[in-house]
Point group: D2
Chain length 144, copies 4
């Protein structure tokens, strides 16, 4: 199955020069940035801007593990659709599944092509001392 | 005058973790990326996607000079509005004036705050040998 | 075991503002850049500069899978030591194991602290059409 | 004059995939990163690591203006030499002149080729409220 499910959060991303490398394609490390933009917008949609979270709770998410598989390259000017969904989650950590698809202009989402997919494991730390803590319950509930 | 003119091209940009540095603000070099995203979307609006330009003309824009003044910092989750307009242009080079404003959610554009402004001078080169050439006439006309 | 083995390739990396984020620490995606710098220097030590490889063979490595675990944060001005070693390899792909350690100035490598570790799976493609190919035999032999 | 003067601070920088774009050359915004790495090492040589400066003085440098002229492109695997020298300085701001040269392996510095040059104007702010302040006198004296 290579198309995003209608119920999964989607965020559009355009490929600019800054994202590419001398191979003529998107530099692989940048998919972690694309994934994060989508995660951030997903959290915002659920009512949790990250700066507000920091100000209110004194804590922030930190990435503790990432895995990415690269299936096909993206190029300058391409439009990607990046998804985010909860794969598993507890009080101390969450794992988010993410995918980047190439969306062809003028085509339906059913023709999207999977470019990259991965998982991002998030922990929660206190902003001042970076010590691990519990993910705020309202955040956890909203994501589930 | 600190608000964008209604006739000038505007592109919204959200600040993510990737854009910030340990000072807690947007890393200054990243405004060049923000400016380029806005320029690229401006060109696209005028009918000139950069990959299409490369494929059709065999040439591409290259940046020959940049100047940026930084007035105030942007932070995580801020929404910026970045403008692009032609300052001067000839057959061999163009200068684009660009500004980044902080737009406060729920406020009108008249309360935008100027964060950074600069000029980007662009030349045109052949993609294969990187030798300077003339900017394609249709591009030049569309920008004016 | 948290210290690099003496026989493993090591590359020193300094943390600059560009590497950090608003959390005050190195942005996690940047470890993929640090890993690549170390891999590149390792290949160069073995006689294979990447541009030379492209020019001579018409091909290049592409990253097909990455995994990274983050154990502890790095900060501005820290000195890291990044290692690279072959974990497994065949004609179509290689897996490189990589680690980033914090090296305290004036301390011996035995007090290095493991910050991040991961694996990078590399395939080989033709530079012009990006189709998969066989890793050049001399490269494969040198890495083993 | 295209070669660095022997009395000017020099910092070597290698070009990696992360630095390049789909034009096959170093992405222009990255010269600001290269300049900063050289400035940082110059300050460190003079006894002022930036994290130490923050911890001891509670303040930090902020970039208030940048200008860069791009003369020739750099490519993957190139070795650059980046210089930093004080152009002018007062209690509230400094201007640093910086240049990036291409150094050909096996050649003397006299054959270095100027790739990019610019000026970076620095102010000084309090780390907590980002309000402008005076550059610490010992830093100012060391740079002159």
């Amino acid at each position: 199955m290579s198309t995003p499910s209608p119920s999964i959060f989607e965020h559009p991303i355009r490929v600019y020069w800054e994202d590419t490398d001398a191979g003529g394609i998107v530099f692989y490390a940048n998919y972690l940035k694309f994934f994060e933009r989508a995660r951030t917008e997903w959290l915002r949609t659920l009512g949790f801007g990250q700066q507000v979270l920091r100000d209110e709770s004194g804590g922030m998410f930190v990435v503790s593990e990432t895995t990415v598989k690269y299936h096909a390259p993206a190029r300058l000017d391409d439009t990607l659709v990046v998804t985010a969904e909860l794969q598993s989650g507890g009080k101390a950590s969450l794992t988010i599944a993410q995918r980047a698809y190439l969306r062809t202009p003028g085509q339906t989402p059913s023709s999207d092509r999977l470019l990259a997919e991965g998982t991002i494991r998030l922990g929660w730390v206190d902003c001042t001392n970076l010590k691990p803590g519990r993910i705020p319950a309202p955040v956890l509930e909203a994501l589930k």
